[in-house]
């Protein structure tokens, strides 16, 4: 896939998070691209930095304690990180919209769905510098809810979040996300909070909508299955690094990174939100002083001395297939490569 067609480019993004115990390096130089109509899945254990990436793209990270140390997020060539709050507002919802993890907590409990959606819709209208009357906005909201397969929206729109089931709320959130018909839709674990049957419905909904409105999608999940069902490409994330980036087909045919392999082995019990992989021994490392070199090496069965020293970078090992692992460095040991790798580290 080529540079030009990509509308969102995340390059070498480093995010640190200050806690009283020290600085957690939660994102350590992650890079990926998202093309037009492209659907990319971001997979990894809970807390590997997926959500942070997503929030970073929408500039929703609370600063402090988070700090964006380096890197850039380019949307149509414009670096979002350099935007003012005012400019952000034009992007959010309008061009890039987000569907959140937990529908229970992402709706304001004290306002009716109508009010919340109308506010959103009119807000967008204003940014498109054309205003919109309440009633118009209301009609549009009802339309969106309908599109999100909400049973008799005209009535239910009056209700308050606590009167809806989890699935229904997620539909509301999706409808809201669509309100500004954005180019990019970021779905952060859109189904994890829901029970399995609902999950399926919601996924189907998202797929359908994507096909209908041709959004580019960044789907974040800890569940390979889910990603596979929606996305064309996939990025595997481990402890703040993208370790493997390729298409769905390849990931299942020839998973390359040891961690990816582990993931695949672990699929059955992956959805158990324990944040612990049965397939792989040990658990996600401490972000405050992460392992030197490859962050995965303490858990890696194939760990070599170099892994403990040098941080591997994403390297093309095949068409549309990048891996960050020294196992796939053909001419290793090679001081130069090592040095190059070193020089990449801040």
């Amino acid at each position: 896939m080529n540079m030009e067609s990509s509308i969102l480019t995340v390059k070498d993004l480093r995010i640190h998070f200050d806690t009283f115990e020290g600085t957690a390096q939660v994102l350590d130089g992650c890079s990926f691209r998202l093309g037009k109509g492209d659907t990319l899945g971001l997979v990894g254990e809970t807390g590997c930095g997926k959500s942070i990436t997503a929030k970073a793209i929408l500039g929703l990270l609370p600063v402090p304690p988070t700090r964006i140390v380096s890197g850039e997020i380019r949307f149509h060539g414009q670096n979002l990180l350099s935007l003012s709050e005012g400019e952000w507002k034009r992007i959010r919802g309008n061009q890039i919209a987000m569907i959140f993890q937990d529908p229970m907590t992402y709706l304001n409990p004290v306002f009716s769905i109508e009010k919340q959606m109308v506010d959103v819709i009119r807000g967008h209208a204003r940014h498109r510098n054309g205003s919109m009357s309440r009633s118009e906005a209301r009609e549009k909201a009802i339309g969106l809810l309908d599109a999100a397969h909400m049973a008799n929206p005209r009535l239910r729109i009056k209700e308050f979040p606590h009167e809806f089931s989890g699935g229904m709320r997620q539909r509301v959130l999706i409808a809201m996300a669509l309100a500004g018909d954005p180019e990019i839709l970021i779905a952060d674990e859109p189904t994890t909070a829901l029970d399995v049957t609902i999950q399926a419905q919601i996924l189907r909904l998202i797929k359908e909508l994507v096909e209908r409105f041709h959004h580019s999608v960044l789907l974040i999940s800890h569940d390979l299955g889910i990603v596979a069902s929606v996305c064309r490409r996939i990025a595997v994330m481990y402890a703040g690094d993208i370790v493997e980036l390729t298409t769905i087909e390849r990931i299942f045919q020839s998973p390359s990174h040891p961690y990816t392999k582990g993931l695949l082995r672990a699929i059955p019990n992956l959805s158990s939100r324990e944040g612990k992989l049965v397939g792989i021994t040990g658990s996600i490392p401490d972000f405050i002083d992460p392992p030197k070199g490859c962050r995965f090496h303490p858990r890696c069965l194939h760990a070599m001395t170099v892994c403990k020293e040098v941080k591997p970078l994403l390297e093309e090992i095949a068409e549309e297939h990048q891996v960050a692992c020294f196992l796939y460095e053909p001419s290793w040991p090679d001081a130069a490569r090592g040095k190059k790798a070193m020089s990449q580290r801040p």
């Binding site: 929408l58 929703l60 992007i91 959010r92 919209a97 987000m98 992402y106 306002f111 967008h124």
Partner: protein, 335 residues
């Protein structure tokens, strides 16, 4: 909803009965001899007896207790030994002043404190925030009566623009009594002079009385705002490009107001207690002053009357607050 209110009211009555009992028992521990005071210092034994029968103090405790309840239903709260008048009359005469003062103070506190709290939360750890926090912490540490004296000393004395005490200038004819609240009445009757005078008189006491309330409401509101602003629905609102003003002024504030309300209700009660001190300093002719003087005289019928009245006030206020919840929070259901 209806049953809920009824239930609450019943509970209030129950509590009041308990309250009466407690105070009644307490009151009868009093060593003093009320009849003797009523009779006057030079009174002969014979005269004291006259009083004793008149106040029903010659009957055994139980009978007095029953008698008190009986009287209560007939709207008779007994008689004050100090003022030699029916307690009910006194309360009717003095309560409006207290009510006006507390409500005015509370309004003042709320109107100032809530925006201030919001601002502090928004500009957390900025100059304003620090100032407001120091102010709010010290607000609760300042002895009301002392603050009152100091204000009298510096505002009322040094610069001569606020009166020292009282409810109206002694030359100002009180406005026609409709609600018995001077500010309201004078406005209703368009008596601008009286209104201005009443306002001038209420400013200092109201400020002093509202000070602690103001402080604590700012604290609560600030804390709540800070907490709410970290919630997910705020993030999503931002993600959908809702403007900052709206997020803070509506989405966050409405959530934050719910706990704040509780504090407001609580503070109303504390204010009623505070009147004891403030009215003493500002010579405000309300039931706080009435209570103090009665207590010093160990004149008990009035104390019971005041306790009862304030108890009712406090509990009803809290009931109202709970109803306000409903308006603020759709999740609240009254069972």
């Amino acid at each position: 909803m209806k049953q809920y209110i009824v239930k609450r009211l019943l509970l209030i009555i129950l509590t009041l009965c308990g309250l009466i009992t407690v105070i009644f028992l307490v009151s009868r521990v009093a060593p003093g001899d009320p009849a003797r005071l009523a009779a006057g210092p030079d009174a002969t034994e014979e005269m004291v007896e006259v009083m004793r029968t008149e106040f029903g103090l010659d009957k055994p405790l139980v009978l007095q207790y029953i008698a008190y309840f009986k009287g209560l239903f007939r709207g008779n709260l007994g008689r004050s030994i100090r003022t030699r008048r029916s307690v009910l009359d006194d309360l009717i005469a003095f309560f409006p002043a207290t009510f006006e003062l507390t409500v005015f103070s509370l309004l003042f506190a709320v109107v100032v404190a809530i925006p201030l709290g919001v601002l502090c939360a928004v500009y957390r750890d900025r100059f304003l925030d620090h100032v407001a926090r120091v102010f709010s912490v010290s607000g609760m540490a300042l002895p009301m009566f002392w603050l009152a004296l100091m204000l009298q000393l510096f505002l009322a004395l040094r610069f001569d623009f606020l009166p020292l005490g009282g409810r109206l200038g002694m030359m100002t004819e009180p406005p026609v009594k409709i609600t018995h609240l001077f500010l309201v009445d004078s406005l209703l009757t368009g008596n601008w002079h009286a209104f201005q005078d009443a306002l001038r008189h209420i400013i200092l006491p109201a400020f002093v009385l509202s000070f602690p309330a103001l402080a604590s409401i700012v604290r609560v509101n600030r804390a709540e705002m800070l907490e709410v602003l970290t919630r997910d629905f705020i993030t999503s609102a931002r993600a959908h490009g809702i403007s900052k003003i709206r997020i803070i002024g509506q989405y966050a504030l409405k959530n934050a107001l719910i706990p704040t309300m509780t504090m407001v209700g609580l503070r109303y009660g504390w204010m009623l207690g505070g009147t004891i001190l403030v009215e003493t300093v500002f010579d405000w002719p309300g039931i706080g002053l009435y209570a103090v003087q009665s207590a010093v005289y160990s004149d008990f019928q009035p104390i019971m009357g005041v306790t009862l009245l304030i108890g009712i006030n406090f509990m009803v206020a809290n009931l109202i607050i709970d109803l306000v919840y409903g308006a603020l929070d759709p999740r609240v259901r009254y069972e």
